[in-house]
């Protein structure tokens, strides 16, 4: 077991993890964050995307110990049903959510993009979400949602 110390959605977190535990397991099973999903488990689908120091990472291929000393964000950081983040609002408005499996990861990749680039072009948006697969929407609605959210939200960490 290893003790790891990191910031999760703004809160200092200290927890014991197994040596062979992934950050995906730690978040889902020990910290009850069910928004991140296990899809392919080999770093291809993006359903397990988390932000580490505001940059997207696949939690399925990240040993939990690697998060130690870093800032980790999941979609819960953005907002909840009571107070949605403009990106989340836009995903609803533009019909960017169908089954919802990819949505948390998609939102985090989009949020990371908007932190660095407040006026992304469509190619910028497509590149930013290229590691998040969606099998429902065909992506058009997702790109529209991010493009429109970029105009109204000033993302800051």
């Amino acid at each position: 077991m290893k003790k790891i110390d990191f910031t999760l959605n703004g809160k200092p977190t200290l927890i014991e993890v197994e040596d062979n535990e992934t950050l995906l397991q730690t978040l889902r099973e020990r910290l009850d964050i069910k928004s991140i999903k296990e899809g392919c488990s080999i770093g291809e689908c993006g359903a397990c995307t988390v932000l580490i120091d505001n940059e997207p990472h696949y939690a399925c291929l990240t040993l939990a110990s690697k998060a130690s000393g870093h800032d980790v964000k999941t979609v819960e950081f953005l907002g909840d049903a009571k107070l949605l983040h403009p990106l989340q609002e836009a995903f609803i408005t533009y019909g960017a959510v169908q089954c919802g499996y990819c949505t948390p990861g998609m939102l985090l990749s989009a949020y990371s993009l908007l932190l660095k680039n407040q006026h992304p072009t469509d190619p910028d948006i497509k590149e930013a979400i290229s590691g998040n697969l969606c099998r429902c929407t065909g992506y058009i609605q997702i790109v529209e949602a991010i493009r429109n959210a970029a105009g109204i939200c000033k993302c800051n960490s």
């Binding site: 290893k2 062979n20 690697k66």
Partner: protein, 278 residues
């Protein structure tokens, strides 16, 4: 679930080397994008040496035209590094095209080389920069040319007790340089073909040419003999056609005739012509 192992997280290179020399059946964890995929597919080991907390293995520095890049530098870190962009823009470009944003934030240059996929985007640019690989162990340091380090696809000269700590690349200021690849999709794709080039011209003559072609031969290769023969030749259609033909001959000699060549050879030809014409 990953197979069981015990991990150690050294904070210095010296500690990592001590662990590697004493732990039985140890693997090195850096980005995890290859290692953990292999583990999911059934590979196992007793120990993991996690080198992600060794901060000086992320340093990038320059000395006398040689750029040293820490092996734990991620593709993303390399793609935004201004020193690398100024002297090795093909590497900047290639590292910016690897995988997806998350993969670029995780995967490291050292891991990319140790994994030694023949389709790795970083290889062709590193070859034109005459990259040396620095391998360290408790017993000392050895440096190898990248060409000698990679023995075959997915096979390198690294020993189990060694750590790839740094790579050294020669900066090429004043060259026209780039990297281009052909993929099945615009992004999040593996290269079907790639080419890195650095070319110096003066008064309509080729002064110096460095080319590396990826995904056509078992390992990306540099047609050094042909590069040499182009020095001092006039940049014209005749020179270019002759050079392209020779390079294609060389590719076929190394790889034999492959079914994929019906597609690949015309594409390589077009890429080479475009690059040499500039």
């Amino acid at each position: 679930m990953l197979p069981e192992f015990a991990s150690v997280i050294p904070e210095s290179k010296e500690n990592a080397l001590a662990y590697l020399s004493s732990l039985e059946n140890a693997k090195i964890f850096a980005g995890g994008t290859d290692l953990l995929v292999k583990m999911r597919r059934g590979e196992s080991c007793r120990h993991i040496v996690d080198i992600t907390k060794i901060h000086d293995m992320k340093d990038v520095s320059e000395h006398d035209g040689l750029i040293t890049i820490g092996a734990v530098s991620t593709h993303n870190e390399i793609s935004v590094n201004s020193l690398i962009n100024a002297q090795a823009p093909s590497l900047t470009r290639a590292c910016g095209l690897v995988g997806s944003p998350a993969i670029r934030n995780m995967g490291t240059i050292g891991g990319n080389l140790v994994n030694a996929s023949p389709a790795a985007d970083s290889l062709a640019p590193l070859l034109i920069h005459d990259t040396m690989v620095v391998l360290e162990s408790k017993n000392g340091v050895r440096k190898m040319k990248l060409e000698d380090f990679i023995l075959a696809p997915y096979k390198t000269a690294i020993q189990p007790y060694e750590l790839l700590t740094f790579i050294e690349i020669k900066g090429l200021p004043g060259y026209r340089e780039g990297y281009k690849r052909v993929t099945k999709r615009a992004t999040w794709a593996i290269s079907r073909l790639s080419i890195a080039w650095a070319i110096q011209e003066k008064d309509g003559l080729y002064k110096d040419i460095k080319l590396a072609i990826g995904s056509c031969t078992p390992m990306p290769f540099r047609p050094r003999r042909i590069e040499e023969s182009l020095k001092g030749l006039a940049k014209n259609e005749e020179t270019i056609q002759a050079a392209v033909e020779e390079i294609i001959y060389e590719i076929k000699r190394i790889s034999g005739i492959r079914p994929s060549f019906a597609y690949k050879i015309p594409v390589v030809k077009a890429l080479l012509e475009e690059v040499l014409k500039g």
